[in-house]
Symmetry: C2
Subunit: 376 residues, 2 copies
């Protein structure tokens, strides 16, 4: 469902096998000090994003994580630990580690609690960017559970009636097991559009649609540089008449669960992902925050009954009356499932700019270069 899946340029594109990309990424994480198990886990999160076609959140972000480490803002050998707990809730301190490592640690606790008591919920503080929310929620699905994962993020989005960047694109993910169909995975930013979409338009010299961003003065704009120029992204809904207060409410919910409940930072205090922006002073919490959860399907009804009804739900929505005969309803998570199968078979496509960036990273860190696979 991520927009970047549609915008993949075919021009300067190269392709690499899943194994090749895993080996390369693993080497990078080990080179910056991650223990073997952590490196393998962080690699799995990023490569899963690329396999699913969500290339904005895959290895394209590797150099960003490395720059955070270079700036001393990332602990690559963290010891995440539980600081507060009940039978079905916990708060984890991520020890300043990669969210790619800390969030799976927390989700494993949620799953263990759900196995024992039916559900498990873990708030995480003192963490960093955790990759795609869907990775974490799908861990629950592997256990016939419903998965939930949200995170706050660098402030880019203004609440309704303001033009101040106070919220991240704060994604929400719910994942549900199905029977013969792929799992339903709703994995979405709570902004009207991703910042990456503005960057793509900016590089192409194209305007953006109204409803994605505001100017610094709070006016509707089609200027792709609006956010860079002091403006802000708009919440889902775009304007008050179309429900932007609902997108604001969802984003606020994510911020409160991830930041306020865990003891992480929230709102404008969330530290930026990009290393060239310094975290603001007087932070009320530690690092960025996430919130993950798992509920056993058979805590509510037999798994087979649930999956049979999920299949009926999916089949009915796929059969919905179409506006354009060529465009069926898209079941959330299904395009990413099929992208994974295709990318496993044919190799993972990487755009030229990302390829070049990764090669420079490899040279800098002294690890082996990427080697292109020729499609069979």
């Amino acid at each position: 469902m991520t927009a970047t899946t549609e915008h993949r340029p075919s021009a300067s594109q190269k392709s690499i096998s899943e194994q090749g990309l895993r080996a390369f990424t693993n080497n990078i994480f080990r080179a910056i000090g991650c223990p073997d198990a952590d490196a393998a886990l962080a690699t799995d999160v990023l490569v899963t994003a690329d396999l699913r076609g969500i290339d904005s959140h895959g290895v394209a972000r590797l150099s960003g994580y490395v720059r955070l480490w270079e700036n001393g803002r990332l602990n690559t050998a963290p010891e995440p630990h539980v600081v507060h707990e009940t039978p079905t809730t916990a708060t984890v301190d991520g020890d300043g580690g990669l969210g790619l490592v800390v969030a799976p640690y927390a989700m494993e606790i949620a799953i263990q609690k759900a196995r024992q008591y039916g559900s498990g919920w873990v708030a995480i503080r003192n963490s960093n960017h955790f990759g795609i929310a869907g990775y974490h929620a799908l861990k629950a699905v592997d256990n016939d559970m419903i998965g939930y994962a949200v995170t706050n993020a660098s402030p880019l989005v203004a609440p309704t009636f303001s033009t101040e960047r106070l919220l991240g694109t704060n994604p929400i993910c719910y994942a549900f097991p199905a029977g013969k169909f792929p799992p339903v995975v709703v994995d979405m930013a709570t902004s009207a559009a991703a910042n990456g979409k503005l960057e793509v338009a900016d590089r192409a010299g194209r305007p953006i649609p109204e409803g994605w961003a505001l100017s610094r003065e709070g006016q509707p704009t089609t200027d792709a540089t609006a956010v860079k120029s002091g403006g802000a992204l708009l919440p889902l809904g775009s304007d008050r008449a179309h429900g932007s207060h609902k997108g604001f409410g969802l984003s606020a919910t994510v911020d409160i669960l991830s930041g306020v409940l865990s003891g992480a930072n929230y709102g404008p205090w969330v530290p930026p992902f990009v290393a060239y922006l310094e975290p603001v002073a007087d932070q009320p919490g530690q690092g960025i925050g996430h919130f993950v959860g798992a509920m056993r399907v058979d805590g509510f009804r037999p798994v087979a009954d649930f999956k049979a009804n999920m299949d009926q739900w999916i089949a009915r929505f796929k059969a919905a009356r179409r506006i354009d005969e060529g465009q069926p309803v898209v079941i959330p998570g299904e395009p990413e499932y099929w992208a994974t199968q295709a990318n496993r078979e044919r190799g993972i496509p990487l755009v030229g700019a990302v390829w070049d960036d990764l090669q420079q990273l490899a040279a800098k860190l002294g690890v082996g270069a990427l080697e292109e696979e020729l499609t069979p």
Copy 2:
């Protein structure tokens, strides 16, 4: 946050005290066979909506519930019961009762489970319209817990790329306790606009903004009769470029949690609230479905710390740079909190059409008429 709070006409408006409206509503529910305790509970849910200024979901709906009962589609003396359970999850069969009674029964179970184990989650089937989601979520807040409530509803909304009504306006509510400020209550339909907004425009002979509805043919429309004419409401986000697939994903999530997980109906099979529309044949489940939950704040961190940070969060967002000097950022739940204080003091306003409808209802059921209070 509900749109209807803005559109209250002052012309043919009457006013009644909270006590007066409670006594009247209680009599109506008892007249259709509700036991005393159930009548009091259903009354509390509806009057709370009116107090909060969400008059679309208050006593204006009373005659709708009565018509469902007249049509034999409502059990006014239900025995809701748990049909499946773990320490922190349960499924409740609502026995065909009012959602106004069944959902509070389920939320009480969720709160008890949370008290014992940290969190509690209850799916509900075989129920009916449950009023405002916020009522149920706020029960958790009264116990220093985070509350969650969702419900599916009569199909009015089309998924992205379709023009078929397959989803309800499927609201989501999260409620969080705060310290010196009112609780943060995000209570929102997952459609771009409520159907009531189209009805208001239709009665006034006004067009609607593009982005609220589609024509039967799937074209954007400004026709306020679009849904009545075979079209559909649009999900939050309005169109694909502005993220309608996200609104669809949220609505799907609500439908799966409420319908598929509980064993209620889902998608196009959800029975309509209006008694003049018959439920469709071959229903896969029972009645409509809800899903509620509660998590203890002190399952994650001390309540005082959480509330202090909530207050800081709220104060920071209230202080956000404004686009229009006269319009501050609205904290979700705050207007409804102040509306409650005002309506308690000055009486609850009812528009003329609702007043007349209630008087006819009273005459039909042989209960005492409403008596207007003159504002002191």
